[in-house]
Symmetry: C2
């Protein structure tokens, strides 16, 4: 079988997920890792070129696709344009408000250099974006809802950690079940932020810290917590390590609407993920396959999951898909 | 706004759904109906050319897409090749086993005549096919399940109507809730047909007919009923008219699997449709938009929902989708 040669840029949670996902996909192979810490990564990753991410890529290295696994804030905006000038790339850029401008930047670079770049792949943005578009296309005067959770919000966890007296914190986003049920019943309600989600924060306090003061510091924090009902639960360092070391996430995209003669319809997509970074990684690998195929067809420029024929994500041929999946 | 000129071929349940859906989509317009009964259809459909389906299409009629709304058994296999030789077409051909050969036929005709034809669009085949492909692509060693219902099976209703003593019958397919729950828990079970679905048949018996004999005739019927647990409920003609005149349907596509380091994930797509033909119709209209766009790009040949960039189904521009839906 023809293998797609893949490199990973950055070496964190998502990268380790990509590394594992590549082993589960028979048509893909990891051939290189770009990292700021090549010595450390070489101890973990064998039989693969491990290169410093800031040094020039050797001319002789043949790569079909580079998967960018860094963060959306500082890594991808820099590394995306760099790698897209020489390779097909895939990333999970997830700063929603900046997707249009990042798309433009990547599109012009990739077109100029004859590459394909798939941006903002993962579950949200990514699969959830796709579900929102399908729901709107099929129920054009309907209503759309996205609920997230139960899952760990890393941004909210980081914010809670900054409160005085907090030694460690883990914040969960939870959808409000009653709100979900109202949507499922076809009521098409309008919700405040508070009505759709609540937050649950597990906190390890520093010795002698005032718990009530910590609680108030978290639940009143502007932007992060003040628009939600938030519960703060104090636990020990050991409980944190035992029960809150994973990064689960998930959510729901719902569309409800009527067709021409007043019949109601409800579409619901749901994912429950034990590991947010590992699932993001498996979507990135499927997109790497799509990038490889699009490039082989002579396409260039930037794409999102909205622009890619879904069959291109699959390891199976179009004939097999028509026979076994239609 | 530029309007997409659309014609409907055939005039039944799905066609009336298409007619209604075209009114909800600002960029589409019904310009012609092809039917075997033009006189009857003219009474219902105003300001539109109504033409006999077996007569030659007038040269001056400008159509962007013809939506084929006839049955998969006798109508589409004949009308598909006829219309695809002159127009872009969309259909909901749903004889799963014949999709590969129908695709080949339509692909060669559409390519020869420079047209685009989207086949087998609807919810299953169609959206559910797409969900099966996504589930398999993202969880490559996982398991996939499709459950149908609660919904009316027209084939099973027709079969029950043929039993001696039955005046009318309506058969519902029901997913077995306990089986769904096992899948959702990530157990990845293997199921018999009987373990996934059951059937519920409402029967209006002829005067003096033997109910027990009818019941046995239905539940033991090979292919249709013998592999399922089936409940038969006798009702009056009036109850049938009042409670069972609609054609609801729906179902679930589930994928469960693990990523590299043993984390479990569950993806679930669900639709609940008050009217199976009307929802099929709204999918067909979104596909007509996609066919129009693909044709404008110079593409030709046959496509399924697996081959179409999802954004092409949407009335919004790619820029709007990136800004508001990603």
């Amino acid at each position: 079988m023809e293998k797609i040669n893949i490199a990973i840029a950055g070496y964190g949670n998502v990268s380790r997920g990509v590394e594992a996902a590549l082993k589960l996909n028979a048509d893909t192979e990891l051939v290189a890792v770009f990292t700021r810490r090549p010595d450390q990564v070489r101890k973990r990753v064998k039989d693969v070129a491990v290169l410093h991410i800031e040094e020039p890529v050797p001319e002789e290295l043949h790569l079909d696709v580079v998967i960018l696994c860094g963060g959306s804030k500082e890594d991808i905006p820099v590394q995306g344009p760099q790698f897209a000038a020489r390779f097909n790339t895939v990333d999970s850029f997830d700063t929603h408000a900046s997707i249009p401008s990042y798309f433009q930047t990547m599109d012009s670079i990739a077109k100029e250099h004859g590459q394909v770049t798939i941006i903002s792949a993962g579950w949200d943005p990514g699969i959830f974006s796709l579900m929102r578009v399908l729901g709107d296309a099929f129920l054009p005067h309907g209503k759309q809802y996205t609920f997230w959770g139960r899952g760990v919000s890393q941004g909210h966890s980081d914010a809670a950690r900054k409160v005085t007296g907090v030694s460690d914190a883990r914040a969960y986003t939870l959808p409000i079940e009653a709100a979900l049920q109202r949507v499922r019943r076809g009521e098409a309600p309008d919700f405040s932020k508070r009505a759709m989600h609540k937050r649950l924060v597990y906190v390890v306090a520093e010795n002698g810290a005032d718990h009530e003061r910590i609680r108030k510091g978290i639940v009143t924090m502007p932007h992060y917590y003040d628009e939600y009902d938030t519960e703060v639960v104090f636990i020990s360092k050991e409980e944190m390590a035992e029960h809150h070391s994973k990064l689960p996430h998930g959510g729901f995209v719902l569309a409800s609407g009527e067709t021409g003669t007043g019949n109601k319809h409800m579409l619901e997509y749901r994912c429950q993920l034990e590991s947010n970074p590992e699932f993001t990684a498996t979507v990135l690998v499927a997109c790497a396959r799509a990038a490889y195929r699009l490039h082989k067809e002579g396409r260039t420029g930037a794409f999102t999951l909205l622009d890619i024929p879904p069959g291109y994500l699959s390891p199976h041929s179009a004939e097999t898909l028509r026979k076994d999946f239609m």
